[in-house]
Structures are given as structure tokens and as C-alpha cells.
């Protein structure tokens, strides 16, 4: 392992780091990616085991505080109603994400102009559209063209089956005259590009052993390694180094698999650790020039954390819905209530996602992302025999508006296995979100009843799903003003000219859709901007 200087050092081998690396491989720059986790072999995915469900509660939990693997850093979420979840390793959280591949909408980039809330992005949908297209081609996306909720585009592959569950709910939406559409997914509906089509295993969160799900372990990384991009695994970056006279980043210190701390020099440092890991690393990189954390002269590093608060409503139908068959997060999606409606008591909106139901153990333990087991005793029999097979549900996925109080800081008392301070998350949902969730619950009940549900199962109280912090956005927001944002319109730090951020932390608003498609489109866009400005990159 040589620590010779490289041209571009990318921190993180997940969704954004891999896409960004691909975007610049034609520059012939020497590219190195440091990833704190290992590569996981296909045969290690638990979906090949007889007792595959058990892995959700141990080494393949989405929650790093449950997994506690060597590469995982703990996250203090005691002051948050939502626990962040992730995966650390080659592919990042695309290893255990669910592959729902929804684009943000044109209005998502203009919340201030259109609705007087949050801020506009410095980029817009038309600018990103070609990068959505490019990324979709690299990923392999299945879906149905002609969705009237978007400007025209057409996924390359036909949609995955929506199944009995999806068809049933679609009929409910049609009766009400509400929008719905088969979900776009980063899951192959047919063999494609040397990868096998989805086998409808229904356990996307346990890693896709078929290679059908578009994790970057199956999409970008094979292309990158063919192009001789260097990937060093089990290398955890401790700190980004800065020349105190020029203010430029010079490289990083990282803990290698040998247990030693190494210095790696680079001309360009690119952060791709997402909305918790990226601010954590910047806040851990202090110096005389940056006493409050690197690239943090604005004081906004770690601020404006956004998730997508969720709630769910299920209906019990007369016939088995076979909801465990097929990609688990997505069959159809309604965006009837996505855009701001002045007749509502909230601004912005939400989507109604028809996640499929889950496997028996997970349902008995409360559902995916929920720790609230169903009753024991005879009531257990009634639930498992009389409800479980007949369930179809809707998940209300709300837009989370940026609020400065929701933030990532450092927990000085909690560290990872290398002694690096862990992140601490402070987060609570707003009144606007609470109203949105309530509205979404009521509309979900209407849709399920229209679809033929005989009984509605809704939770009591106004709590949100606890283990639902997949989408971590906003903590190093983009913007034109260095006083109020961390990076500019193409991901470059306002404060450090050779430091870029390409992950979900640069989102200005969250939209109400799964963000990975947009994260990667942005990463490709930033790569293109760097290439276009290569002659005067550091001016």
C-alpha cells in the first residue's frame, strides 16, 4: 500500500463516492478512494441462509448501534425521535437500501420561490435532468414511462411486477381519482448488463445476493476497478489536513487495516460520507485556521439536518396479498399530495408509498424499523393468522423542511473503535411535519378503504418510525452565500477551494422522495463541473 500523493482522494465508497469517481475517470487523474468498511462478498449476504430474518436484528441490522461491527461508528441519537441508519462498506448504504428510485421534482429545487419556505437550490431540475438520465443508465432502472407527475422521461427497463398488492391499491387510488404510478426502482426487471434480474426475494435490506439491486457494489465499482481506480478498504479517515498558510486541503490522516495511522496526500479531497459522516469528519478536522471544524466558517456544518419522517397505515383485506414477494419498499407510489395545496394547514407535501409487507418474524417484532412487538398469547394467533397474510399498507413519506436546530455535533464521550469522536444527532419533527403526517394517515385510510380493506390498522399517538433515518440530508448545504451555506453550487467548499462534498449533506431541501437518485445525479453533475473548470479549479 503506497501512500504516494494522488490527484483526487475520495472518502467513502457508497452511492455518491462511486458515482463521482466514475464521472472523472476520463480525466486520467490518479484517483484513490478510502472506505472505512470492507467489501462484502455475494455469498455472505444473509438472504442465502435458512434463518435469514435473524440477520436483521444483529450483523445486518440497518442500525449501526445494533450491528456494532468494527467498521461502524456509533451514533448518539438519544436526543432524536429518528435513529440514523446506514451501511459502512463498499457500496455504502446502497448495500442495504431498498432501491426505490424516485427523482426529486422541479418544485423541490424552488421551495422559497414557490412556497416561501426554506431556500432555493443553486441548481434546478433541468440542470440535473441529463445527470439523472446518465445515472439511471449506469444503475439499471425499471419503471413505466409517462408518469404525469414528472417532466417526460422513460426508464430503460420495464417495471417490476406491482403484484396483487399493488394492483389492489391502484384500484383504490383510481376510485378516488388520485395520482399513483408504478414505482421507479434501481432493481432489474430483466437481466441487464451482465446482472441477473430480481427474483422477488423481498429482503432488499439484507443485501441483494442476485445483483439485481443497483448498489454501487454491482454498478459503479466494477467499472471503476476496470478503470484502475484504487480502492482501499478498512481505511477510516480521522482528519482532513490543511496547509495553514494557503488554506488548501493537503490530504488526510487515516487508520489503516494494519492499525496504524497513515498520511495520504492529495491535490483534491472529496467527501462522500453522507449527512452524518461528512459533518462528523469536518467537525473532527480542526486547526488554527478552522478552529470550529473544517469548511465551517459559516457555522453551518452539521446544521439543518433533514430526514424523511414516516408513518404507516395498513389495511386488512379479504384475500392474501402476498406482500412478502417482490422488492420490499416499492410497488406503487402516489404523489397526489406532493405539491403545496393552499387548502391544507401545512406547506409542501408528501408521498404515499406502497411498501410491501414483510416476513413473519419482522412483522411479529413490530415491523421494519419499529421495535414494538405484537401481543403474545391468543391475540398473537389472531394477528398472525387473521391479519398478517391479508395486509397491504401505505407509508406516508413527508418532506422535512430544514431547521437549524436539527443538527449533527460531536459526542465527546463516545468514540468509534479508533477513538474518533462519534456524531450526536439532535432532531425533532416540526409542527408542519406533524400536520402532514396526520393528513397523510387520513388519506391513507381513505385509499385503503377504497381499495377494499375491511379493517384499518393505524398506530396510536403521533410518534414516527424510530429506525427510519435512512435519508440524511442538509448538514453541509449548498448555496451561493458563504455566510449561510457550506458549499457552492457545484459542491466546492466556500472556505477550502480544493475540498468538495458530493453526498446528501449538500441538499438544500429534502423533497419527499428517496434521495439516492438525486445524490448520484448531483455527484455526476459536480464531476462534470470539475472537468469543465479544470484549468482554473482552485481560483
Amino acid at each position: 500500500m503506497s501512500n504516494d500523493p494522488v490527484d483526487v482522494l475520495i472518502i467513502g465508497a457508497g452511492a455518491s463516492g462511486a458515482a463521482f469517481a466514475w464521472s472523472i475517470i476520463d480525466t486520467r487523474m490518479r484517483i484513490l478512494c478510502l472506505e472505512q468498511g470492507p467489501r462484502i462478498a455475494d455469498k455472505e449476504f444473509p438472504s442465502r441462509r435458512d434463518d435469514y430474518e435473524l440477520a436483521r436484528y444483529a450483523e445486518f441490522s440497518c442500525d449501526p448501534n445494533v450491528r456494532r461491527l468494527k467498521q461502524d461508528y456509533p451514533i448518539n441519537s438519544s436526543d432524536s425521535c429518528i435513529a440514523p441508519v446506514n451501511w459502512n462498506g463498499v457500496g455504502g448504504s446502497t448495500i442495504n437500501f431498498l432501491g426505490h428510485w424516485v427523482r426529486m421534482k422541479p418544485s423541490d429545487f424552488k421551495a422559497r420561490s414557490l412556497d416561501g419556505v426554506a431556500d432555493d437550490w443553486p441548481v434546478d431540475y433541468p440542470t440535473l435532468e441529463p445527470f439523472y438520465e446518465l445515472n439511471d443508465r449506469n444503475t439499471g432502472v425499471s419503471g413505466l414511462g409517462g408518469n404525469p407527475a414528472y417532466p417526460p422521461y422513460c426508464p430503460e427497463l420495464p417495471p417490476i411486477p406491482i403484484g396483487k398488492l399493488g394492483q389492489t391499491l391502484a384500484n383504490g387510488f383510481n376510485k378516488l381519482g388520485w395520482h399513483w404510478w408504478p414505482s421507479d426502482v434501481a432493481i432489474l426487471s430483466q437481466d441487464h448488463d451482465g446482472r441477473q434480474k430480481c427474483v422477488n426475494a423481498g429482503t432488499c435490506d439484507l443485501g441483494c445476493a442476485a445483483g439485481a439491486k443497483g448498489g454501487t457494489n454491482f454498478t459503479y465499482w466494477p467499472m471503476l476497478e476496470n478503470a484502475r481506480v484504487e480502492l482501499r478498504t478498512e481505511c477510516r479517515v480521522r482528519e482532513i489536513l490543511v496547509d495553514q498558510s494557503t488554506g488548501f486541503a493537503t490530504g488526510v490522516l487515516y487508520h489503516g487495516p494494519d492499525g496504524q495511522v497513515h498520511e495520504q496526500k492529495a491535490e483534491l479531497v472529496v467527501l462522500a460520507c453522507n449527512g452524518i459522516g461528512t459533518p462528523r469528519l469536518l467537525l473532527n478536522s480542526t486547526s488554527r485556521l478552522f478552529p470550529d471544524g473544517l469548511a465551517n466558517r459559516s457555522g453551518k456544518v452539521g446544521k439543518f439536518l433533514m430526514f424523511h419522517p414516516l408513518t404507516g397505515v395498513a389495511g386488512v383485506f379479504d384475500e392474501p396479498m402476498r406482500g412478502h414477494e417482490g422488492p420490499m419498499a416499492c410497488a406503487i407510489l402516489s404523489q397526489e399530495f406532493y405539491e403545496t395545496d393552499p387548502s391544507n394547514d401545512f406547506v409542501r407535501g408528501y408521498g404515499l408509498h406502497s411498501g410491501r409487507s414483510t416476513t413473519p418474524m419482522t412483522y411479529a417484532l413490530g415491523g421494519y424499523g419499529i421495535d414494538d412487538p405484537i401481543p403474545w398469547g391468543e391475540a398473537h394467533r389472531e394477528v398472525m393468522d387473521g391479519q398478517y397474510p391479508y395486509l397491504a399498507g401505505l407509508t406516508v413519506v413527508t418532506e422535512d423542511l430544514p431547521e437549524e436546530r436539527n443538527c449533527v455535533t460531536l459526542d465527546t464521550g463516545l468514540t468509534d473503535s479508533d477513538g474518533i469522536p462519534a456524531p450526536k444527532v439532535a432532531y425533532r419533527i416540526s409542527e408542519n411535519t406533524r400536520k402532514m403526517l396526520k393528513h397523510g394517515e387520513e388519506r391513507s385510510k381513505e385509499a385503503l378503504l377504497a381499495a377494499g380493506a375491511k379493517t384499518i390498522l393505524a398506530k396510536n399517538g403521533d410518534s414516527v418510525w424510530r429506525r427510519a433515518g435512512w435519508h440524511q440530508m442538509g448538514t453541509c448545504r449548498m448555496g451561493k452565500d458563504p455566510e449561510t451555506s457550506v458549499v457552492d453550487g457545484w459542491g466546492r467548499s466556500h472556505d477550502v477551494k480544493n475540498l468538495f462534498i458530493v453526498d446528501g449533506s449538500i441538499f438544500v431541501t429534502s423533497g419527499a422522495v428517496n434521495p439516492t437518485s438525486t445524490i448520484q445525479a448531483l455527484a455526476l453533475y459536480i464531476g462534470e463541473c470539475i472537468k469543465s473548470n479544470i484549468g482554473n479549479l482552485f481560483d
Partner: protein, 148 residues
């Protein structure tokens, strides 16, 4: 490992936590052998046998001969234990569900395959273009619903 009389008591308790179906088609958790799973469940909770033994002791303290009780009486005892030892009891419930539903032979009783989901998965037919066109016809007919 739980053996002897304690094992017999544990099986009775497990059969109340997840009872068998009335028609006998679906076994209870005791009959399904969940007790064998509990000692090896340290990946899911620390010191699982501490919770098991706590519940066993509490049941024994409240009922000299649990096996002699009818099912209604057994449930009453277990509810009292649940109130007295909520953490241990919840741990036992969670582990019981894990040990029970992780058995390949149990899943088909709920319509789910016994097999590992990879590589076989499930055969789900994709909707025809005609069916999708019909289903989405009314959505298309209403035109675009986004703000540019």
C-alpha cells in the same frame, strides 16, 4: 442450556406466548422447540439466559405447579410476571418470536417460503403492458400534476 423440570416449565410458558392454533395445524413455540434457540441468542440480546431464568423464577414464585393450571390461569400468572419483570419478559417474548419464525418449517404456515430467499426467490408475474395501460388510464387522462 435449560434442562429437566425448568425446560418443561419453559416449554409451557413458550406455548402460551405463541400458542398453537386451535386446529393443531400450527404448533406453539414450546412444541416448536424454541427453547433450543434461546441459549444461542446472544447475538440479539446480551445474556439471554438471564432473562429466561428471571421469568422462570418469577413464574415458579407465583405458581407452585404451573403445569396444573388451566390455560386461563397460566395466562394470568404470565401477565403478573410481565408486570413484575417487564424487561425480562419482553426480552423473552422477542426472543421467542425470533426463535419461532426463523424456523424454515414455520414460515410456510403463514404463506411464506421455507427456502432461503436467494437464489430461488418467488415467481411473480409481471403485469402485461395492456393491464398497466388500463390501470393507469385514468391517471394519464388527468394530465400532469407537477409544478414546473
Amino acid at each position: 442450556m435449560v434442562t429437566g423440570e425448568k425446560r418443561q416449565l419453559l416449554d409451557l410458558i413458550l406455548d402460551e406466548l405463541v400458542p398453537p392454533s386451535a386446529d393443531g395445524r400450527i404448533p406453539g413455540a414450546g412444541e416448536a422447540g424454541v427453547a433450543e434457540f434461546l441459549p444461542s441468542s446472544e447475538s440479539y440480546v446480551p445474556k439471554p439466559l438471564d432473562a429466561v431464568n428471571s421469568v422462570l423464577s418469577s413464574v415458579s414464585a407465583k405458581s407452585a405447579d404451573f403445569s396444573a393450571l388451566d390455560r386461563t390461569e397460566r395466562v394470568s400468572v404470565l401477565k403478573a410476571v410481565e408486570a413484575d419483570k417487564p424487561e425480562s419478559f419482553e426480552t423473552l417474548v422477542r426472543l421467542t418470536y425470533m426463535g419461532y419464525y426463523s424456523q424454515p418449517g414455520i414460515r410456510p404456515l403463514f404463506g411464506v417460503g421455507a427456502h432461503p430467499v436467494h437464489p430461488e426467490g418467488y415467481a411473480v408475474e409481471r403485469e402485461s403492458d395492456e393491464l398497466l395501460a388500463e390501470l393507469t388510464k385514468s391517471v394519464r387522462s388527468r394530465g400532469s400534476n407537477y409544478r414546473a
